[in-house]
Symmetry: C2
Subunit: 237 residues, 2 copies
């Protein structure tokens, strides 16, 4: 069983409560984001300076896999074909990773933290919009994301020791979010219902589909939460 | 706290019951084997023909990580430094992987099955020789290895569809085990107590340290269980 394809989405408005197709889109996006994060984090773990650090980053990757598995399973329970749901997001997410290959251990930590943070923002959207079981899933994933704090602490310690790193890593973080916004723009244009769900103000069910100002407002909000994460790592926006 | 180093091992025979240093060696070997299997399986998952298969192989890799984590934790509980315990096995295991890079999806499946099988033989040794808690750990890991059957089924199906594959994959499997035996020879020479634990006949606590005939007998036994695994995949030894 599959859900409506990308092409038919704008012509088939989702029921007011539940947004099935947009929520499935969002879950498809998250499932692929977790799977590809698993792969890229595992690559990056090879940059780790010690065997112990390598094991720690492998652990973060394994958690991404567990999240992928959970979202994948939920998509199947909802009657969607998980691979089909992930399909539209393969290219933009692969492109983001290809354009943001960490060149050092610290860059890979900053990327993991930033990427995880953005994913968290999306899980919060799932928690706001989806049915009870899917909300429970999003909350479980969010509750497992404290591990991000261990990364932030690592980066803070490195920056405290060598303050020259702060400028370089801040630039890197800016590039990470810039490239993410540029891919998000592609997705927002192609997946109008998903964009409408993501850009809805609190209290609203959705913004008007194709509302570009709403997309810009969401990007501004993403940038705000990103800046908060930078500060947590001792970097600046 | 750490246990005796490689150099001192032959001069400091382990207590008769328990073989602490040899058992810690074996756990260190398994911990690093699982960690590196996690990394290499994740690389190989990129060869998967579909997104679904990619997710499945990522799942196998995540299981290797979970096993690594368990063995790593047990080493720490036993008072060993897990990274130090893994240290002597980094080079031979990395060498094995470097000399056996799969060139195709099917080669990566055969490698995963063969590698997992050899690890299983070693976990069974742990189960025979170690204390109760460590034995329980080995049994848990072994009970989670049914997943190997899904790999064997995949390979069998591919070989049934294209019988020409059988010869090529059988050769590949022979190379896998040949390279493993050559690395095992290096380890057996450097880690005499470990070799003595591994080569002990059933009922014996250990063979005489440095007994080369015992090492050869163990290799013969490894080759036997390897051939049984080949048959399970529809290949020949």
């Amino acid at each position: 069983m599959t859900y409506g394809s990308a092409d038919s989405a704008p012509d088939s408005p989702a029921p007011a409560a539940g947004h099935p197709s947009a929520v499935l889109d969002l879950l498809g996006l998250l499932a692929y984001a977790e799977l590809v994060a698993f792969f890229r984090l595992t690559d990056n773990a090879e940059l780790a300076p010690t065997l112990a650090a390598k094991g720690e980053l492998a652990g973060l990757a394994a958690t991404e896999y567990a999240h992928y598995k959970r979202v994948h399973g939920r998509l199947a329970e909802l009657g969607a074909d998980p691979e089909e749901a992930m399909g539209p997001f393969v290219e933009p997410l692969d492109a983001w990773h290809a354009r943001t290959r960490p060149q050092s251990w610290l860059e890979s930590l900053v990327k993991a933290y930033v990427g995880d943070g953005i994913a968290g923002d999306f899980y919060r959207k799932v928690a706001e919009r989806a049915d009870d079981d899917t909300r429970a899933l999003a909350q479980t994933v969010l509750s497992e994301s404290d591990r991000g704090e261990f990364i932030a602490a690592h980066v803070r310690a490195a920056v405290a020791e060598d303050p020259a790193l702060a400028g370089r890593l801040s630039l890197w973080a800016r590039r990470l979010v810039g490239e993410a916004l540029s891919q998000a723009q592609v997705v927002a244009t192609a997946r109008v219902e998903l964009a409408s769900l993501l850009t809805a103000e609190e209290g609203e069910t959705e913004s008007e589909p194709g509302d570009l100002a709403a997309v810009s407002r969401m990007f501004a909000k993403l940038t705000d939460t990103h800046n908060a994460r930078l500060e947590a790592m001792g970097l600046s926006g």
